[in-house]
Symmetry: C2
Subunit: 324 residues, 2 copies
Amino acid sequence: MTLILALDFGGTKLAAATVHAGSKQWLGYERRLSPANANADTDLEIMRSVINSLLKGAKPEAIGVSFGGPVDATTGKVRLSHHVLGWENVPLRDLLEEEFGVPAYVDNDANVAALGEYRFGAGQGYDSLFYMTVSTGVGGGWILNGKPWRGAEGMAGEIGHMVVDPAGSVCLCGKRGCVERLASGPYIAQDVREVLRNEPPRRKERQGRRGEVLRGLVGDNLELITGQIVSEAAIAGDNLAQEILYRASWALGVGIGNVANLINPQLFVLGGGVMKAGEDFWQVLRRVARETALPEVNFEIVSAALGDDAPLWGAVALAEDILG
Amino acid sequence: MTLILALDFGGTKLAAATVHAGSKQWLGYERRLSPANANADTDLEIMRSVINSLLKGAKPEAIGVSFGGPVDATTGKVRLSHHVLGWENVPLRDLLEEEFGVPAYVDNDANVAALGEYRFGAGQGYDSLFYMTVSTGVGGGWILNGKPWRGAEGMAGEIGHMVVDPAGSVCLCGKRGCVERLASGPYIAQDVREVLRNEPPRRKERQGRRGEVLRGLVGDNLELITGQIVSEAAIAGDNLAQEILYRASWALGVGIGNVANLINPQLFVLGGGVMKAGEDFWQVLRRVARETALPEVNFEIVSAALGDDAPLWGAVALAEDILG
């Protein structure tokens, strides 16, 4: 049986797994957090020890790798990581091929997760789909004609920085109202915090429950607010949380509708923490996407099936493709 | 030598040409306007007479067809025309194959023009590009991996109805501030007309030349204003014309930057009457596209090379592909 090694350099976490080609069950599986002051060397060191503990001397036939940052998939060279220092121009594929003496393939996490969902998850049976992850950032990856579409220089899928509201707030990318600025977890939390800071707590009745559930959940310590807490507050009826999440789901819906008009894929697969914001969130997103797309443009929007393991399963698919 | 017949059902005009496969020069070429009350039958009748006058009894080996409206390229069936009545569900490919006894291929004009520019025009030597036509409407067509990408149901390329300003004016499509609402010729003319209607002519000096050149060009008959006249007025220094065109080029730039982030093609090829609006127009469009795309996303933006003949040349490419 053909042994495959799948690696996921996720930015804040590192994961590795082994599987027999053709199987849908992990043989071995390990996940670790990156240390606070991680750099490329410490990431590689931790990954090496995880790999050794998984392989126990066995030799894989191929290695598939998901990397959390831009990668030139044709050369397997990492361009950089936005989270971890020292990854500039690291020839990750060559390093792994040399160290393990087997072929490897490296691609960025959104592309790899898209491939994972396509081959093993929510995208099985379709042949064109757009995978989106909505969490710390908003990223995406394409499957067109049953194959990853990476773009001319491997940069395709960047829906996060599509401008949907030119009058919106400024994003780190320098633009106003891009999808990531409106719909990523940290920005959702930041916007909620800012409103609460500018509003004295517990105002009169007219204000209703706006912000009260939120304040309650974090004991008035606004620093503790996260995207997840905003979701919880919204589900518990907090109007402010609902407003900010409405805007996020609206932004995602506009983005998805625009993408549908442009590329007309069969399916959108949505994953990431923010997508756990509840039924209302999904409903608004679906409605706005439908309104934004032309009436003749059909598509489905479904939830990702593989959760945090999508990049690892995509890495398995990359390795299987090497083996042919 | 292999004779090819290329047809262009363009909505307001009909064109046909013949060429020897592999040649870049027309053997015969004819172009006619649709009559005012055209329907599918009159279009087909006119096209038949054009074809007969071109072929003079000779028989082509294959027929390529560009149609100005949504088409199911896999069956060659026209879905409808937005300009001409009676085209609903017309099996155009089958009609032509039966009548001429040779294989035919039918696709919508944006896809076909993209293929034309790719094979014979500004896109030669590239293998991923997005073609856009900015005129009465705003449409687009994809070449990915050297082949047309039509989408799951042939609807890909609809950049015209990408929303770029959710606070903008309402388009016929029902949405606010889509690219076509801001950048198509008729809407540019309409917006200029509306401002002029609401402003008394020849106001004080503070108003400067705003609208004056425009009024001069049409002898104060605002109905005569077209996109082309707005361009002329802008080049002659009319501030109002410049403002409205600035917004149009801004909308196109945002759309192009968003598309670059999403698909990362090598090249954008821009054609259509509105693209003749002068150097300033191109400059703004290029700058905004560059600012909208992520810094790592590279692309070129060039002018279409084939003008009105892009769909005919694309039809030639379709026919050549039938012949293998």
